[in-house]
Amino acid sequence: MAVINVDSRGSACPGPITDLVRAYKKANNGDIIELLATDPGIKGDSKAWCERTGNELLGIEENSGEYKVKILIKSKK
């Protein structure tokens, strides 16, 4: 049950999701990934990724052009 911080600020689509997947590969079920991004596509993309992979989007905070996406990892086999 760790919190994994991923900083993707400044990286454009599909960079933030690539960074998220790299973190996901090392994560365990129950971990929370906190992804920071500035690419506005991240709002829809993180939702789509969670739907596709069976992980849970806990929320997206937006603060002056910066997004903090929280994802609960639950699809690791």
Binding site: G10, P14, G15, R52, T53
Partner: protein, 139 residues
């Protein structure tokens, strides 16, 4: 697309088509979708060993727009299309195949003469068989 994945016939060899190849491949790998890329036509020379894989050459029709777009991508420090395919191969189930017909036309005898990103040289029937039921796009 679910089982057959995303299958891309890569015919063009210019940056305006190679960049979307990189983005699509990276995105599919991120989403857990298998990707099969079939290199043929004008893309062959780009994927040859020591081929101009980071070439910024664009199609004639987009020539006037290219400098602004390329500069924009550079400013964003966006990875090259080649780096995106490399990264997609690390992350997911991504295979790159070179067309056997075009290999023969270019006197390429084995995959050792292709860029290391190429997994094998195969025929069109093999690609059609492996992409059956999946989504096939031609770029």
């Amino acid at each position: 697309m679910e089982n057959g994945g995303l299958n891309i016939i890569m015919f063009s060899g210019t940056a305006d088509k190679l960049i979307p190849l990189g983005v699509l491949t990276q995105t599919a790998a991120n989403m857990g979708v298998p990707v099969r890329i079939f290199i043929t036509g004008w893309a062959m020379t780009v994927f040859k060993k020591d081929g101009p894989k980071n070439a910024n050459r664009v199609s004639k029709e987009f020539e006037d727009m290219a400098p602004v777009l390329m500069k924009g991508l550079q400013d964003m420090k966006a990875p090259s299309w080649y780096e995106m395919i490399q990264s997609a191969k690390e992350i997911g189930d991504v295979k790159v195949y070179a067309c056997s017909l075009m290999s023969e036309a270019l006197k390429i005898k084995s995959k050792a003469e292709m860029d290391p990103i190429v997994d094998d040289i195969i025929g069109a029937a093999s690609f059609m068989q492996m992409s059956a039921g999946g989504q096939v796009i031609f770029i």
